[in-house]
Symmetry: C2
Subunit: 201 residues, 2 copies
DNA sequence: CCATGGGTGGCAGCTACTGTCAAACGGTGC
DNA sequence: GCACCGTTTGACAGTAGCTGCCACCCATGG
């Protein structure tokens, strides 16, 4: 993932604090529920001040949801990297697989986070808001791929939304099955439904 | 919409306060932006106390977004009312048209609200969260319609998500076009994309 | 006439979040 | 070693969203 770092020591320190904060937060939130945990508890567990917390995360929700930003840029990059001859269904399927594969790498941990998000209204709201950014990126990438003006056609918008619909369905079914269902199978099933629409341009 | 009222005077009084509050809020919010308006300003304009505001709306976002609840129940009811022989694409198209038609009834006012929602992250987040409820309702309704167990199959989930994808795309394009595009046309275009997927069961 | 219940306002309190400032830290040149 | 400087941090005060609580008003009904 991380290419050649050449990271200044300061940057690594920042990363360290950020990790400490997310770890402390996730543990507490999974234990007591989102609403019952205060920022003060989180920062006490991480050993920093409240002010520092808000220098790293814009909100209490962000500490859970921020990792999605990185996945969003990956998503778009993966779509852009696909050969342009590839039909949209295949290209999108590969692009969407990237964030899902990231879940499959640390299944236990990720499952807890996903369940926390899907079952906490405030987190779900922020999660969906972040996906709007993904959708926008996917749509413009798709449009340029097909040589269309970005906003003028319905297809790129709808295709992006359908891909994210698949993504959401996979996460939800994975979460509901307590991680027992295979992410790859779920992804196949979800994409099987939308392929006829994606490839009918 | 409202059947035979038989509304007690008390209920009508409640409705009156609620309307006063939403009117005051929408006017101020459209004027100054969501973040720059405080609850105190809204309640001052409506002539009630802050405490009363929170008896009518759970949050500052809710005063803009709450009307969606009613549209959600209509949505499901309209789908349930469709003849069971009708293919999913047609039934869903009719169901989704209900909330869109509600927009078409008061285009100017609704356009301002839609734009406010789509351009304010906090409102967008709550808006999407509300749609999750719609999705759930649509999915279970579709499942029972097709005689499937509610959570076991992918199709109802995906079909519901695709219908809402169409809904979202219509609103977004309508908003971006400043209301110039016809809602009926936009709906047709959006559904044209997903029909091949919806009717391939 | 009083009793009862729903709606209301005011207040005190919690929590998320922000602006500001001074202190601490880490690296750089002398 | 020491002064200089940018970055990071913590403490404090302040704002705003939101809630619990209680006293109060007022319409209805006995």
């Amino acid at each position: 993932m991380a290419s050649r770092p050449e990271v200044s020591l300061a940057q690594r320190k920042r990363q360290l604090v950020s990790n400490e904060l997310t770890e402390a937060a996730l543990q507490l939130l999974a234990l007591k529920g989102f609403d019952s945990v205060t920022i003060d508890e989180i920062v006490a567990a991480a050993g920093v001040s409240q002010r520092t917390f808000f220098r790293y995360f814009r909100s209490k929700e962000d500490v859970v949801v921020q990792f999605l930003v990185g996945m969003g840029v990956d998503l778009r990059a993966d779509l852009a990297a696909r050969p342009s001859a590839e039909p949209p269904s295949v290209a999108l399927r590969h692009a969407v697989w990237a964030p899902i594969a990231a879940c499959a790498d640390h299944p236990d941990r990720t499952l807890r986070v996903v369940q926390l998000i899907l079952r906490t209204p405030a987190l779900l709201a922020r999660f969906l808001e972040r996906q709007e950014q993904w959708r926008d990126d996917l749509a413009t990438e798709l449009a340029s791929r097909l040589g269309l003006a970005s906003g003028s056609e319905v297809y790129p918008q709808m295709a992006a939304r359908m891909a994210l619909a698949a993504f959401g369905t996979v996460l939800q079914r994975w979460s509901d099955s307590e991680g027992k269902e295979e992410l790859a199978d779920l992804t196949d099933q979800a994409f099987a439904v939308i392929v006829p629409a994606l490839d009918t341009i």
